[in-house]
Symmetry: C2
Subunit: 242 residues, 2 copies
């Protein structure tokens, strides 16, 4: 199990930047110098720099040395998916109350989105998420059977479902989030403690594995006075955070 050279270089540079060995605003060593230092050719060095650029850590352009933009890399994937991680980062206390978990046949539209046969069963959850004890978000999640079945035996009031799935080796690879606004329905109103018809931020999410096969479909509704969603994107990347 050997780590590719370009990853080694990227890790080392990330560490130096985070430790402040290369200050924000300062220039990185030139590619030529990095080649010497790591006894590498330009390929792996450039691959490593490219990764840092995507993380928003460094910027720069032709003829100019790469410059440190920020000392903290956005941890795009997990923190963007996980309510729990987001809460931890922003210093709030996450909580959850499972309302329902069921094994059932999906509605036709959900089946179509997940690419499963309408006669197959899926695992559906309804869970209320809390921030510092206050209702913040209501999630309605649907998992394909193979991924969702183990959730039936898990303690879902304990913490993050994503952490649990990653633990079990589920290949979470990418997610597509669509945002809009909806009026609270009866269930939203009751659980989120808002009037029916109040504006809620809705996030619909399709998560897929690395071959593009859908794993999860979710409809999350946020109380806008308690929780919002923030995305940061940089010219060279489209990373997302918090």
């Amino acid at each position: 199990m050997t780590i590719p050279l370009h990853r080694v270089i990227a890790s080392e540079l990330r560490q130096r930047i985070r430790a402040g060995a290369i200050a924000v605003g300062a220039a990185l060593p030139s590619e030529a110098r990095l080649c010497e230092e790591f006894s590498a050719s330009r390929g792996p060095v450039r691959q490593a720099l490219s990764a840092l650029r995507e993380e928003g850590l460094i910027g720069g352009g032709q003829g100019k040395r790469a410059v440190v933009l920020d000392a903290v890399p956005a941890q795009p994937f997990e923190s963007f998916l996980s309510f729990t991680r987001r809460a931890e980062i922003t210093g709030h206390e996450p909580g959850q109350r499972l309302q329902e978990i069921a094994l059932r046949r999906p509605e036709p539209t959900v089946a179509a989105v997940l690419g499963v046969d309408p006669d197959d069963v899926v695992v559906q959850l309804v869970r209320l998420r809390l921030l510092d004890g206050r209702p913040a978000m209501l999630e309605r999640m649907t998992y394909v059977e193979a991924v969702g079945r183990p959730l039936l035996d898990a303690d879902l009031d304990a913490g993050s479902i994503y952490a649990l799935l990653l633990d079990r080796g589920v290949d979470l690879h990418s997610a597509r989030h669509t945002f809009d606004a909806v009026a609270a329905d009866a269930l939203d109103a009751r659980l989120l403690d808002v009037p029916e018809g109040a504006p809620l931020l809705r996030e619909r999410r399709l998560t897929t594995d690395s071959s593009g096969t859908p794993i999860e479909w979710s409809d999350d509704r946020y109380r806008p006075d308690v929780a919002t969603v923030t995305v940061t994107n940089t010219r060279n990347s489209r990373s997302a955070a918090l």
Copy 2:
């Protein structure tokens, strides 16, 4: 003005995918075949595939051929910022009606966000955006004076402000978007043609240059039945190879 080979290859493949010449779910030609076709070495070919992978167009892994995941690329930087680009990509006709453009002193909160002195002037715009002729989004934008002043002379009903700014060499580098939901106020209701109090998707955006200096602050409100916002994120954006 010659276009780099890896961009040519990426464009060509994007076009084939969008046109359906390579169906969703089908495999791309192998790297070796692409090398032959474009008379290129593996470097540029892999760089092009890497770009498509970052856009979420293709997936795949070691030993397996790359597979088309989606026919519509997720948002690279400009398209995430620009309503116009987004409309073009999704095949709708963008339009706009400038309601107001003014040079004035900012409100204290806006001044603070932009990091300007409350006694400085800023350029503020209110513009209604249309999709296929229907009201879709109302934007309230504030630009720092140096960037915004040229907008006073421009034809803002013509097209994208971002295209215009990029043309003038403005260093747009990163943006932070915060999403929530609000009830339509009187102005929203009148221009977007919805009842007062109807739920709207709100996007607040702070755009900065590569040194982190704020350039623009915006409050955009979407009619959720006409326009939504989509974000895609990937776990291990394998970085550019060559």
